[in-house]
Symmetry: C2
């Protein structure tokens, strides 16, 4: 009998998530039916969207989320034993799945066996070679469509998605401005990832800083945070600028969205196009993003960083640290107590 | 010697425009050069964008704007004497033009001889058969792309553009919700223009009203006003909703854009697409819009209304009345003291 540990949404988040809002319970798993497989989590993802979607969570249900899991048993030929899969199974150690998307999960992510990672670690299937990498790839290229010579600004620039977006924009010949909340993050972005400029939104006057580093205005803005910062950037964009709205982490913990400077006057005068997205909309060409990102990594053109927390029992801590912006690059949890 | 009367931007608008901000001066016009023509204004347009662009006006220059003018003299075969033309000449009675767009005007509108109006009055060349009509036509169809059965909300619904947008949306098989600031306007929208619902944003709780009249959510939003109203609507939109941002009249007279509820969380969760536009971007297919609107009017499928102010000297009053929302449909000024 396999027992799963599962995080249950117990007390609805009231502002910033608190210890006790989630409870870990044990769940006995039944035997597999035809078409099903048993997957054991090795790496679990913590992402801003989990807080963003919390308003739609029902108390008593499992927190949504993706994981890289080893297939332990299988009655589904598409998910063979011994392979790693990506599963949008939620915050749980063991899962019986039939491979189909969870219709109760807003992301509607398909489960799939990881492609050949060519020696790269399987944890990347949550980051640069998974949802995060595809969020950067499709979210930037499909919505912003940046042209060589254009200026691309990115908020949440040191996060998993932002740090990846900036590097793709550099590969496309753009000038890249990263915005984040610590000079140490900025140093990483400019020194290692070769962003052209960094703005610390906590210590600098962003409007003034933009006038210096983006004197010709901003053509594309990849928005991970929302809030007043995004209003400031929209008011400094060029004619026909494009805004890819990936997240609004600055607002997820507020009971009401914040009051910020209205963006409509800038949107109309500069004829801006702003589009929000959830990455699963590109499920039809999912592997295109993964393949491109993988090649760039193998060629040394894209660098990545993971912030790893050990222990399933520390997942809530990893989640709240990520919401506070403690992480560099992708925040993941490594499950250590595997049933071998 | 022809003398033109011209409105000069004298004191930069500080909040709502005040008497004395503009001055009427007389200007003696020189003889025509080859390629030029002399046009005498018969109808002048007052539009919200004139306030919106004021931040870019230089004191001492003519206020921008369109007019329907009679061609009085011509050394340009494309602009023959006796024809009516649309000219983006600014607030002036007589103009020498070479027919090319004014590069100092943000709209970059081309001048053109009015097409055969098939008996309809030439003043419509400023409204339903001109920039306003094309703003409604292209702004709705190209950006919102409404499908039969979808719900379309329109702010500034009793204005020149809004009242036209709603009728096109009805022709496309949509449910139409008009939002404006008086019950009398609402009566016109629902009784005469056959909008499905009306919300008075001044007297009703818009969020609550939307829950009643758009219980299935809003698919398309044509935004003429911006401000908190638009934030409320964006938070009530459906997945993959489209927002056409035509104007932000609620903010044009503010020294700073207002603080409103941030929209990014809604934009990302619902994967909304918001795009601002200036109608001259569709200059390549300008006549397509005019021809469609004309046919709909001739077929009795689109109704229009004009709010006409007599006298060039009353143009400032017409402008501020329009900014206050006094007008139904298109606000225009008729020049009565023509040099015959």
């Amino acid at each position: 009998m396999v027992k799963a540990k599962v995080y249950i949404y117990t007390n609805p988040f009231d502002g910033f998530p608190k210890t006790g809002d989630l409870t870990i319970v044990e769940e006995e798993l039944r035997p597999l039916k035809d078409g099903e497989f048993l997957a054991e989590a090795e790496y679990l993802s913590v992402d801003p969207y989990m807080r963003g979607y919390a308003a739609s969570f029902k108390p008593g249900t499992t927190i949504i989320g993706g994981q890289i899991a080893l297939i332990r048993e299988s009655k589904n030929p598409n998910f063979p034993v011994g392979k790693y899969c990506f599963g949008q199974f939620g915050w749980r150690t063991h899962t019986i799945s039939n491979g189909l998307p969870d219709t109760k999960d807003n992301l509607k992510m398909a489960q799939y066996v990881l492609p050949d990672l060519k020696g790269l670690p399987p944890s990347l299937g949550l980051g640069v070679l998974g949802m995060t990498g595809n969020t950067a790839y499709f979210g930037l290229l499909e919505i912003c469509n940046p042209k060589p010579g254009e200026t691309v600004a990115i908020s949440g620039a040191a996060g998993a998605v932002g740090s990846h977006v900036g590097q793709i924009a550099k590969l496309k010949g753009c000038k890249v401005i990263g915005i984040a909340g610590s000079d140490d993050k900025g140093k990483w972005l400019t020194d290692e990832l070769k962003f052209d400029h960094f703005i610390n939104y906590k210590t600098q006057d962003v409007r003034k800083a933009l006038r210096e580093v983006a004197a010709k205005g901003i053509d594309c803005y990849f928005d991970n945070v929302g809030g007043e910062l995004s209003s400031t950037i929209l008011h400094n964009m060029n004619l026909f600028g494009r805004i890819s709205v990936c997240g609004a982490i600055s607002a997820y913990n507020d009971k009401q969205p914040p009051k910020v400077t209205a963006v409509q006057a800038a949107v109309v005068m500069k004829q801006l196009k702003m589009e929000g997205f959830v990455v699963s909309r590109w499920h039809d060409k999912w592997m295109e993003g993964i393949n491109h990102n993988q090649q760039w990594i193998l060629d040394g053109k894209i660098k990545y960083r993971e912030t790893i927390t050990d222990g399933f029992e520390n997942m809530f801590q990893a989640f709240t640290d990520m919401l506070k912006g403690v992480n560099y690059g992708k925040a993941i949890v490594r499950v250590k107590t595997l049933i071998k």
